[in-house]
């Protein structure tokens, strides 16, 4: 069965994978609009620390989230592989900065394991699940939960 045929099966979902630090993450392809090379990000004075700034996307202002900050990872200098993934979450178009974008993978529902939920940390609520792949563990991210409701409201008013 081809990957396209597999995709027709309702239990198979497609995920865009990206890297941050040494880990691979997946986000639902249905929420990804496009992937941009690194461009100038204009800082927004007084913005919360998880906001890197704004970019001009064909005349539209898009706010870019500092994904490393959100994932409590050390800061990293942008390089040739750095990408801004434009996504749609909570009715907003948002950019998330990632170290690199890898590929689109197909995951069958049974291959997705539930998130670890160790310590019941509120800050890890955006981990939707994990999938064990040949090349390592893929951490699936629920983009809608990257920010709290209040943070999303704040984000939209920037």
């Amino acid at each position: 069965m081809s990957q396209a045929e597999q995709a027709e099966n309702s239990t198979v979902t497609q995920w865009v994978t990206f890297r941050l630090e040494d880990e691979r993450y997946g986000i639902n392809v249905m929420q990804v609009q496009e992937v941009l090379r690194m461009t100038e990000i204009a800082p927004v004075p007084g913005a919360p620390d998880y906001v890197l700034g704004i970019i001009n996307l064909r005349g539209n202002v898009v706010t870019v989230m500092d994904t490393r900050k959100r994932f409590a990872l050390p800061q990293h200098e942008a390089d040739d592989a750095t990408r801004i993934v434009i996504i749609e979450a909570e009715d907003q178009v948002v950019g998330i900065l990632v170290d690199s974008v890898a590929e689109v993978v197909y995951l069958d529902q049974p291959d997705i394991e539930s998130p670890p939920n160790v310590g019941n940390e509120e800050s890890s609520r955006y981990i939707q699940g994990v999938a064990n792949r040949e090349d390592g563990l893929l951490i699936l991210v629920d983009l809608n939960k990257l920010l709290t409701d209040e943070e999303w409201r704040e984000f939209s008013s920037l």
């Binding site: 880990e23 959100r70 994932f71 409590a72 990872l73 394991e113 998130p115 670890p116 939920n117 160790v118 310590g119 019941n120 940390e121 800050s123 890890s124 609520r125 955006y126 981990i127 994990v130 064990n132 390592g136 563990l137 951490i139």
Partner: protein, 241 residues
Amino acid sequence: MTVSEKQAVSKLVEHELALKVYISALLEDEAAPLALADKPAPRPAVEAPPQAPELKPPLPTVEVPVEVAEPVPAPPVPSSNAYPDWADQAFEALLFKVGGFLSMATPLATLNTIVTWNDKITPMPGHAEWFLGLLPMRARQVKVIDIAKFVIPENHAARRSLEGERHFKHIIVVGNGEYGLACGDLGDVFSVERDKVRWRTDLSQRPWLAGTLVEQMCALLDVNVFAEMLKDGCPADETSE
């Protein structure tokens, strides 16, 4: 030795000392001191029910009507046992080191397997510092815990010795394989008589600490409770008392 080397050594000694003080406090936080030969006071569930007084007045004969007293209800039997299930009799325990200095023990009965530390652990963002990540093993993901950081509060001086590069050597996989405890050197396996443990009676705080191995003077970890705590969601306060 240069001044900076001396300072580094002095800092290390200071951290070691702080850690030892913390561990001593941890082990001795149960108020009553225990003589080594003493048997621990068993919890009520294992006590024999109160005996009826042996000397009872003889019952009156049938000729004299008497009021039969209502049967006295038996005292409620506490549901919790004095000792964890694995300590019903003498049990085997494994000693291991965490954080470089702290010795802990876990009963062999709750041990699943031990694997050598490896770099296949995938860290999970947004979790507590003591959660190191997931280790794929036998088609499941073992949740690996930095046990030293779990048991030593964040604001404690001893915690500083756990910062920076860590040298884990083994992962002790416990219970049904859901959790792994990252540790340093493994110690001996030895047999423990139940009365050689100072069992904790108040488990409202740090319920994962079953008691203290008196001869080894080390904390005895109740892995089952530990796993339950993590499953139920361990509030940050639980680890930072």
